[in-house]
Amino acid sequence: MQLAVWTYEGPPHVGAMRVATAMKGVHLVLHAPQGDTYADLLFTMIERRSARPPVTYTTFEGRDLGSDTATLFKRTVADAHARFQPDVLLVGASCTAELIQDDPGGLAEALRLPATVVPLELPSYQRKEHWGAAETFYRLVRTLCPAERAAVRLPGRPRANLLGPCALGFRHRDDVEEIRKLLDMLGVDVNVVAPLGATADDVARLPDANFNILLYPEIGAEAARWLEQTHGMPTVRTVPIGVGATAEFVEEVAALAGIDPTAALDAAASRLPWWSRSVDSNYLTGKRVFIFGDATHAVAAARVAADELGFEVVGLGCYNREFAREVRTAAERYGVKPLITDDHLEVEDAIAALQPELVLGTQMERHIAKRLRIPCAVISSPAHVQDFPARHSPQMGFEGANVLFDTWVHPLVMGLEEHLLAMFRDDPEFHDEAGPSHLGAGHTPPVLTVVPDTGSAMVVEAPVVAGWTPEAETELKKIPFFVRGKARRNTEAFAAQQGIARIDLATLYDAKAFYGR
């Protein structure tokens, strides 16, 4: 048994729902109790989809258990087929139905419906959401692109498939648009995007492309591997997040397509390099950043942070163990200990201990960072409704790099502003109660108190915190209010570490020296 408060990933059948919801003409029948219908709101509320997910639940009850849940399942499949007339019918069980062992696949096939039936095995007690999505997509591809399906090579420009974009994916909609543009400029056509927006016929056409582009390995890797082995299709595996990775991606695509990438690379420059080299960005140098998310986004973010923004990566991790190897390799590069865990309390401990200046993470890290009063930007699912913006906001490609610059730098105080604040901090306008001018007069900044950073939301008692001498307290007040909280926490952490019971001026400056660069 594992004790969990918040989880990074749902159960595997939610992954199956993500694939079904992304596609057209696909319907999923889930053998599941009524409470499991909560998952619909992930799509209709968080992603603001305007249609119900194409999912029918059997919603069996306690009194059905003794009698016949299998009959209920068969009736539900038949009804769902009659009502929705899908081309492909996915059938599976959620955690509870897995225990009843009704064999959804066998029952559905026995109905001999005029649709392709794809049975799913979704081991709820071993696997999670991303695995479920990858497995569902793989099963679909396997069923719809059998080995004997010969590729049809169409005349014209080389063609590529985009594999992995999905429902509830972090910025998948915008990434696809961006990559389409990039490929078009390069002279490559998109054959099929899947699962997002694909029909069963589209999936059947996957082998017609010259190669595959694996945008989201968490969802598309199994399918890509199978297409590689069975249909001999090469795969582009560089994930184009950041300027450097996008350039490499372009070269990799160009090599497979037999195209010269020079013109496209010249034309499609990103603003990030200049924004990062301009003098205002000097203050970004060495900002300590903690990165956590799905492995793909975390590893990509670390590279952008270190190579393209000049940050120092002080922590790197992911919640999906299936891709731990990639994170370990990257962590080695930055000389940090990889954090592979799906326990958000462990992540909170790590952030509290490292005291980074910026956190790049999921919605979970956003909440942690908020509690610890550290700036944060979201880079990966699980994400919340505000992470599905109305505007075009890709993470991938050259425009994606621009977005990364803006969204990661924004939470930090602007460089110019930081210098001005330091210069004017003794002015009467800069007294403690003066809030940022853009909030208008009368706005009082929040009182920065110590957040009991035992690092665990489960612990209520505050840790033993050293007391402050009046001199040290006065000195602390001279530090601008927006960094004072951090100074206080750092000093207290330092005192605790050194076994100092009373913080005086010397402790304050020792701590400053200790944390300073």
Partner: protein, 421 residues
């Protein structure tokens, strides 16, 4: 589908059995843990259960979580780990880290019930080892409970723990069903002005001292979904007072009146005490009546609040209920509200969501009250909706919330009038 006429004057009820689109009883933890800050809710279930709680709690992620899920894993099922020993370990770790916890609820889920993990036995075993903490269990599973029935099960599990109220004690009022603290305080003041000083709220704000129950208890339900708990309290001697539920000016008057009569408060006093609040409520409702009167409303089943709310909206604001769906209809408890529904209102129990949506599309009501999974899709079809879950999470009872309650229904309509996009 059947529509039996049960008794004279009682609405025929449409019963359906198909896909339900309702949360399970685990969801009640979201408000119960806030009501009882010294209680911890440990769900023994699956990753799905944890994900449900997280999705339903959504915005409350900042709150200090006093609930968690002990996720059953493959090794537990394969018998590689003794599940009871695992549970002991998890509980031990939890209580060690949370010494402030006075009551621990072990909450059963579908998986724990299907594998027949006996949580009541586990609770009494653990209780023996940990005398300082009260350990109780109930089921919030989706195969036994829908949404608000989780609270019913939780309260029912607490009833045996309530101390005995001496048979010869003067009558005491017990108000059962979770209410926001602010609403409790308003009701307590009104009762006090009428001279009813001995009032307990159940569940209480802390579990250290629980209200006593006995034959002198007069039981007034604040929520319509706690039938099992009410019967458990009755079996301990409590006398159930039935009335309309305290929504709006009329509902709140009727509800308070039931208590006033049971405690022999004279009519003059009763009228005097409620007059200011009742007037405030009426004024607040008048502001929304114009927007809502004559508008047709459809309730998808959700919280069991549907029948009392439909009564409020039709009688006090002139709305026209087209269909009032409820996951479970407790005829005794909502009798007064049910009787006040306009002639011809369809009351439906249970659900076949696809058939019901067909009826929504055919009826094209002005407002549909539904769950979060259905709201945006209906809006996209041009149908205005109100999220049902907000009715459970917001203070809506009593005179001083009547206007807010009407506002919740008026806002989606007002918004549609405002938007030019």
């Amino acid at each position: 589908m059947s529509a039996p006429r049960l008794a004279e004057g009682v609405q025929p009820v449409l019963r359906e059995r198909g896909q339900r689109e309702v949360f399970c009883g685990l969801t009640g933890i979201v408000w119960l843990h806030r009501k009882m800050p010294d209680a911890f809710f440990l769900v023994v279930g699956s990753r799905t259960c944890a994900h449900l709680l997280q999705s339903a709690a959504g915005v409350m992620i900042f709150a200090e979580p006093r609930f968690a899920t002990a996720i059953i894993e493959e090794r537990d099922l394969a018998g590689l780990a003794d599940m009871n020993a695992e549970l002991d370990r998890v509980v031990g770790r939890l209580l060690e880290r949370r010494p402030d916890i006075r009551t621990l609820f072990l909450v059963g889920s579908c998986p724990s019930e299907v594998i027949k993990l006996d949580l009541s036995r586990a609770a009494s075993r653990l209780q023996g080892e940990r005398p300082g903490v009260r350990i109780l269990s109930y089921s919030g599973s989706g195969i036994e409970t829908t949404f608000t029935q989780g609270e019913d099960a939780c309260l029912a599990a607490m009833v045996p723990e309530l101390p005995v109220l001496a048979a010869d004690s003067p009558p005491r009022l017990m108000v059962a069903g979770t209410l926001p603290d602010v609403v409790e305080d308003q009701f307590r003041r009104l009762f006090a002005e009428m001279g009813i000083e001995q009032v307990d709220f159940f569940p209480p704000r802390g579990t250290a001292t629980l209200p006593a129950v006995g034959p002198s208890t007069r039981l007034l339900l604040a929520q319509p979904f706690i039938g099992t708990a009410a019967r458990a309290l009755e079996s301990r001697g409590a006398k159930l007072l039935t009335a309309q539920f305290p929504f709006g000016a009329e509902g709140t008057t009727a509800w308070l009146h039931a208590a006033a009569r049971a405690f022999g408060v004279d009519e003059m006093t009763f009228r005097r005490v409620i007059a200011p609040g009742r007037e405030r409520a009426k004024r607040a409702l008048a502001r929304h009546a114009e927007k809502l009167a004559g508008k047709r409303i459809f309730f998808m089943p959700d919280s069991q609040l549907e029948v009392p709310l439909a009564r409020f909206l039709s009688v006090e604001l002139g709305m026209v209920p087209v269909e009032v769906g409820t996951p479970y209809l407790d005829r005794t408890i909502v009798a007064d509200d049910l009787a006040a529904l306009p002639e011809g209102t369809t009351v439906s129990e249970g659900q076949d969501v696809d058939l019901q949506l067909d009826r929504v599309r055919a009826a094209r009501p002005d407002l549909t009250v539904c769950g979060l999974g259905l709201a945006n899709p209906l809006e996209a079809e041009g149908l205005a909706t109100k999220w049902a879950i907000e009715l459970v999470f917001s203070p809506i009872h009593g005179f001083d919330q009547a206007g807010d309650l009407a506002e919740l229904f008026a806002r989606p309509l007002r918004r549609r009038d405002l938007l030019r996009v």
